[in-house]
Symmetry: D2
């Protein structure tokens, strides 16, 4: 991405120049590099995950200016279609060229939702078979991917950028030495800002925010239902809107719980755009709206796990994060009884089209969460039963060496 004639960017900043311009009503196609720009390989160890340089991510394509867009408008973005790199369009070594990966990041370098339980680096390689994914590192499953862009949004205004930096620094300041950190401040190392250069680049690189979190503009929302055919409604903060996209996923479960929990890939995406003038005030928009598309993978049978906001004997009052963590751990424990390692189960919950729901949020003092695993993704019956547990050899995820 750094060496392209038309470089993208890996930080958010209002001054990154538009790489192209389109009109409302137009369709257009963009190519995207995998989020780490090719650092993770199709191998059987996870050393690359352990050692990944996170200052590089996420490499984004764009920004694309939309004619007539002004601050306060809503940018209507149709995700018309997307896919991994087409045969012959990318080197085999790149994620997206027939394969993708899911990673559990090390606590010291990235972390993740369950990093206190799984502090090491692990990964699974997935092979693409048309709409389906399988993994030599997680045998016994095959599922249709729910492909989507993990990250897209319009550029922030200068004011919004400053507010992001203010509030995130305030958070960091509450525990500046924490590992993993509470948030990531601007980092000029490896900052890529399109065609910006010189002093302008230096200034922008020092204040441009990282791309990691979802924010008011959308950004790294990682919502699996922003899939093919969806319509997203995005806030516009700068003239031309400046839409960027990246972090394509072949599939992902709700929550993307292992940090790099989607099946990561490079590929292409086709967008259609339109405008609702003055839409932000008209509809009171603070963060994006969307309508899911009509071709999400369709499952009708699920095995579901619950969790409540109690951890290690302590009641966390109405804490939905704890409830969900417990639900995830309960699911992982269950899958481990069937023959998977806990890390395989964690990777699977991250990558497969599982659903995660807020189930009860009012029954003091316990929040209740639930996770829905489609049973049809497994080659074997995972239901609880009175029959004896079958001993299966289900191999192992890739780990560090």
């Amino acid at each position: 991405m750094f060496d392209q004639d038309h470089p993208g960017h890996n930080r958010w900043h209002p001054d990154i120049p538009a790489a192209a311009t389109v009109k409302p009503g137009e369709d257009f196609r963009m190519d995207c590099r995998e989020w780490t720009d090719g650092q993770i390989l199709n191998t059987d160890d996870a050393n690359d995950v352990r050692d990944v340089d996170l200052s590089i991510n996420h490499v984004l394509s764009g920004p694309v200016a939309i004619e007539g867009a002004e601050p306060g408008d809503i940018l209507v973005v149709d995700v018309l279609d997307l896919g991994p790199h087409l045969p012959g369009t990318a080197p085999d070594g790149l994620a997206g060229a027939g394969w993708g990966y899911t990673g559990i990041f090390a606590k010291e370098n990235g972390g993740g939702f369950l990093t206190d339980y799984f502090p090491g680096a692990h990964k699974a390689i997935w092979d693409f078979h048309g709409i389906y994914a399988t993994s030599r590192h997680i045998p016994g499953v095959r599922f249709a991917g729910i492909g989507h862009p993990g990250l897209f949004g319009c550029a922030p205004s200068h004011e919004l950028l400053a507010e992001w930096n203010r509030r995130e620094q305030a958070l960091i300041d509450t525990d500046p030495e924490r590992i993993p950190p509470l948030a990531l401040p601007p980092n000029p190392d490896n900052a890529l800002l399109g065609t910006m250069s010189g002093a302008e680049y230096e200034k922008a690189a020092s204040e441009a925010t990282r791309t990691v979190p979802p924010r008011d503009h959308g950004g790294n929302m990682d919502i699996k239902n922003l899939s093919r055919g969806c319509r997203a409604y995005l806030p516009v903060y700068v003239d031309g809107a400046k839409l960027s996209v990246g972090d394509l996923h072949f599939s992902q479960g709700d929550g993307e719980i292992s940090f790099c929990g989607a099946i990561e890939m490079g590929g292409w995406i086709e967008f259609g755009v339109d405008l609702i003038k003055g839409g932000m005030a008209k509809y009171g928009m603070k963060t994006p709206f969307f309508k899911p598309g009509p071709i999400e993978p369709r499952y009708s049978e699920f095995l579901c796990f619950t969790g409540i906001s109690v951890e290690d004997g302590v009641n966390y009052y109405m804490d939905a994060t704890v409830a969900y963590r417990q639900a995830a751990l309960n699911a992982i424990t269950y899958l481990s009884k069937l023959g998977y390692t806990e890390e395989q189960a964690y990777l699977l919950l991250s990558a497969a089209p599982i659903e995660a729901r807020y189930s009860g949020m009012v029954d003091i003092p316990n929040a209740c969460a639930s996770i829905y695993i489609p049973t049809a993704i497994f080659d074997f019956d995972i239901s609880p039963s009175s029959e004896e547990l079958v001993s299966r050899d289900l191999g192992s995820q890739a780990t560090t060496t």
Copy 2:
């Protein structure tokens, strides 16, 4: 419920005697009173909600003993069907007799997920039309209910009961004067413990836990997908399992966010039961599992709202509760632009079959939540558009006088 020949109970305690006994493989039907035992009326003010006596809830039917059940087993419970009171089986004045209600409880008496934003008492009455509900207090919507028992589970053991009391008292002790309280300790006032009486009753009433939260055994999980045709897997802690049920809902959205956010009703439920001997250890069960049934209301178009864990300019690190609250508030704001009061919108999100998902839980520092509103439940098109907003008179919820 208090005056029945075969009283139920409104506290959890292992010593409440079984009201009936069934065999594994049997189907049986139970009648349930609405959770407040008839305190809320089919009226156009919310004074009854404001003044409700919460020491009475939830009135539960049971316990039912299952032959052969032992601690460590999994009780398989099929929710075969359920419904509101049949014509002629309950007084018209009782919720469930052709109507139900959703309430926003006052901050001083119950509270709820958004109680800081909506501290007053409000309610909506729903009329039942077969599988559908409509409300004179929320015109413009009609939807198929996703009926379910809000609350069911097996009796705790003495040890588990003690643990519940320990951990919840520890939470209360962190802020004993809080309004609403962090948790509810045992309360002998209005405690109903089946046929228990005398000294045995007195002792049990002083230690029996309230029925409000979901706990390890399930209990008040308020999961809308525990609907008709579902199969629940429940932990067994005492001989005979002692299954109880109550708090029937005609419908509810994920989260039941307004405390009494379901459409509350009395009615009947048909269960089938079976056992997986020694299932808890075999499957590593800590809290219930379940499989949803095949006849949940089916929607394919949704308007979705997102929320991130930032509130009033403050970043709440990976806090899924804050993210969901923001998503809910964003949805409420949007619906208010269409002509609803914010309270109507809040009630509607609580009662209708909306879905609420954990969307991103790893992108520091912001959790991301999303709420899915099925557009087909509205008489009019709620989509964002470039057309001018239509001014609609959509009345008002019932409020206090």
Copy 3:
């Protein structure tokens, strides 16, 4: 039905007096007897099917007059809910009181879609478990019923009645001795016409049509998707519309292929009605329209069988009936390889929520049909595989003795 104070009817005639009157916008509930009026019993032989008196069917409830309805209007009928007889409301011996049946009728007495292949009488008794049905005569399956009224519609005008008689007699006249007959002419034996009596009854009974076929008004459409929550649009031919209903089904597959192929039951149904004045001309209506309800059983995996319009080496040009018969026979053959008798398979395809589609209707000379069997209704995996076929003892349907 014959002995009730308010008898229904088992023939169509415009002069049958309304049994009740309702207003547009009203909901109302009706009770229905099983279509043979109780001739089929919960037994393990099919002698009752063989010997059934078909002059009695279908016993219908109604007619209900709708205020303001006039010829040319569309009657909007919401099927708000329905179910089998409630506990205690019907004798155990009646279908609908916890059980129902599916029958293959004898070629000499009723016939059916595959009567040339299966000329004898057979039946299966189904037990109801809430929303589910199981059968001791077809073990290994359990499914959620797609309940619906097999037969409902408004009374024909005198002109339409005469047209029905004319065209059906013309068909009969092409082969008057055929067994089974091509159509059934009016038959005064056992004709029940509500409260009609005397000379008026005699005249009407001699011209009233049988209730067997679907006709312009709807009638015995047997469309499984006219299930709970659906909205039907029916033509109105007489003042007051005169809506009647009967032939309730606990479940049925597309086509109801074994004549009495649904799971037959008595029970109750709740309707809501409204009018579109002058709707027939406005929308060019010749036969009913409808919108399915939102809670049909939801399946996502199907094993499908195809058929083309070739039978015994003969090409039947674009004959969709032959194509469907072949698809059904192919499905039956397949299921018989798994251990079912062919009659069990035939009964199952009739009763379970299978889908049957017109697949190709233009590729001369062969029509193509397909049948979709939801795999989740079976206890075991029915998919084709390279593994050896398991020998299963799956018993037998009830047959004649």
Copy 4:
């Protein structure tokens, strides 16, 4: 197709040499030309449809030999993915390069299901927007395509080929002068048989069957549910199976009722193959089985039309073809009331993902059919209502000049 180095074929014959060989378990990708080999253009008249040379179709890709396949095996074919020509891989003039078409063929040259009602030539051009199609000839609709190969199957054996010719000639002989013909006999004109040439070619061309109908091997089944992610089970008649494919469709309704009723395109398809040795006898297979894929477009609201087997006052005993024709005509009439021409409606029912079901096949003398139109594909509400019909200008299909 005729000029390629590796020509395909447009007739079925066992001796056409395999163009490639794959192993069971392998995935592979094939390119396909649009079925007329480029005769239909992206224009606003239908002269090309009127004048099309039907001796050329269908141009098929293959055959592909599968190692180890023998007569009597089942070939398992996974449709892993497919799509229109990728940007830059086909001339713009070819259907599939960003656009496709649906045609009503003239009665004198092709005909179709409703050719007696619509004898002229008409067409609609569809523009592709990622997963969606829109048409300047049918404004007001936008839908996700249900892409599939209209035609695929294994080569017949010599015996089966002879049987096809025998039975189809017998049909032709019943009315040899009929227009359109009852069936198409072998036609050496424009016959393309892969690399065959010389005397071998001459002989084969004289006996090779046309590709138009679905037959025992599958072939032109035109089943819309053979879409992305489906698994088809095909009979094998010759060593190596010799799998061929063509006639790709961007979308199609059940029945493909206007002959060329799908949205026709050229493009690519990715297959995976496997074998069930001896599967035909094991499972009693006569024609293909299949399992639909998990990402078919998902709709939940439908407006449905019924039809019975009565046409022009004549009763056609249990004739499902007549019933379906009436249902289709009823739907067309309805749509014409909303502002479409009848030809637009006919094209739309052919191209959009409508469902067509056999509804009742046992209620003598009338078969009942139903057609399900997803309401969400329209920009406006198509439901019947009491409001006045809006007059809309919805343009016109392309017609002949």
